[in-house]
């Protein structure tokens, strides 16, 4: 016997729902593609509150953890830190005098860095952020603009502001995978192009005879040079006239709590 196949209404309905959902997803994606600031401007105020709350909760647990540390551990740590401070103070004396002399020379030549520096709290950092970015608690209200340079540990240049909202900004690290930045090696004055490798790591190619060695300082060439990285490894191929240099930022981007932003005057 031959039976006529009944129309499968459940399947038809399911396909209709799928088509509607796919259309909705395409619309969501198109909004992000054509208006990349739209979603962050909605979600940052909402998420910002959550991030601040999270920081206070985590901070409370961290402080509670510190109070139950053993006394002997604290004494040892105190002694070690005191010795370290003394050693650093001596280095700082020399550094301060050199910095003053440098500023005086630049002022005499009519060259000085422009803009003020403001402190910002890091709300989100890697590994929560999968891209090499952080979100800070300063925005247009504080005078930030896209392209402002961002520093950590006082003088280590780590990235630049890419997107600015009312009270939040997104900062992209120079170590973003594939990102290229012009740098110079302090000891040999060799210039090169650094390529970001993620997580505060970089690689660069320089002539094999440039004399770059492990521990050399990498700087960002500017009127006021800033520390960009410390050379970790130099790989020289005897058959090649260039060496591969691997270096990393002095600031641990997974551990940054505050950054400084140089805003335009």
């Amino acid at each position: 016997m031959i039976y006529l196949k009944r129309s499968n209404t459940a399947l038809k309905k399911s396909r209709k729902v799928t088509a509607i959902v796919v259309f909705f997803l395409i619309v969501l994606y198109a909004v992000h593609f054509f208006f990349p600031r739209f979603y962050p401007s909605i979600f940052y105020p909402l998420a910002g509150f959550a991030w601040t709350a999270e920081k206070s909760v985590v901070g409370w647990f961290s402080r509670a953890g510190n109070t139950i540390k053993s006394k002997s551990n604290l004494t040892l740590e105190n002694e070690r830190l005191t010795a370290e401070i003394r050693s650093n103070e001596i280095s700082l004396l020399l550094l301060e005098s050199l910095r003053r002399e440098n500023e005086e020379l630049k002022a005499a030549l009519g060259r000085k860095p422009e803009g003020d520096v403001i402190l910002a709290v890091v709300l989100v950092r890697p590994p929560v952020s999968p891209y090499d970015t952080i979100i800070i608690d300063r925005g247009t209200r504080d005078g930030l603009e896209a392209g402002n340079m961002v520093y950590a540990l006082g003088d280590a240049l780590i990235g630049e502001v890419t997107e600015v909202y009312a009270g939040k900004s997104k900062v992209a690290f120079f170590s973003t995978p594939g990102k290229k930045t012009n740098i110079a090696f302090d000891d040999s004055s060799t210039r090169a192009e650094a390529t970001g490798r993620g997580g505060g790591n970089f690689s660069a190619v320089a002539p094999a005879n440039s004399g770059i060695k492990e521990g050399d300082t990498v700087i960002f060439p500017d009127i006021e040079p800033h520390v960009f990285g410390i050379v970790g490894k130099v790989v020289v191929d005897s058959a090649d006239s260039f060496s591969n240099i691997f270096f990393r930022s002095p600031a641990n981007i997974h551990d940054i709590r505050f950054v400084e932003v140089r805003i335009s005057p």
């Binding site: 994606y29 929560v128 594939g178 990102k179």
Partner: protein, 82 residues
């Protein structure tokens, strides 16, 4: 299960390492039928944390990855029975 998964993923995107969110989304895609929200979370991660430069010049890494995860797991889920 769907609602719990959505809450968990939203929290993990805001507070937990990115790889935790990816694992969580894979898990939820496996257990919830037609978990289209995975793509929405991809767009959300790209919007919240991504930049124009993205990774190696591609800005929509997570949208792309979650679309692939969703499609692959939908096929696997259909072919498995439990």
């Amino acid at each position: 299960m769907r609602i719990a998964g959505n809450i968990g993923i939203a929290v993990s995107i805001l507070y937990l390492p990115w790889w935790f969110s990816v694992i969580f989304i894979i898990g939820v895609c496996f257990s919830v039928p037609k978990f289209y929200e995975a793509v929405v979370y991809g767009i959300l991660i790209d919007a919240l944390y991504g930049t124009k430069f993205g990774l190696y010049g591609f800005s929509y890494v997570f949208t792309g990855v979650f679309i692939i995860i969703f499609l692959v797991l939908s096929v696997i889920r259909r072919r498995l029975s439990w």
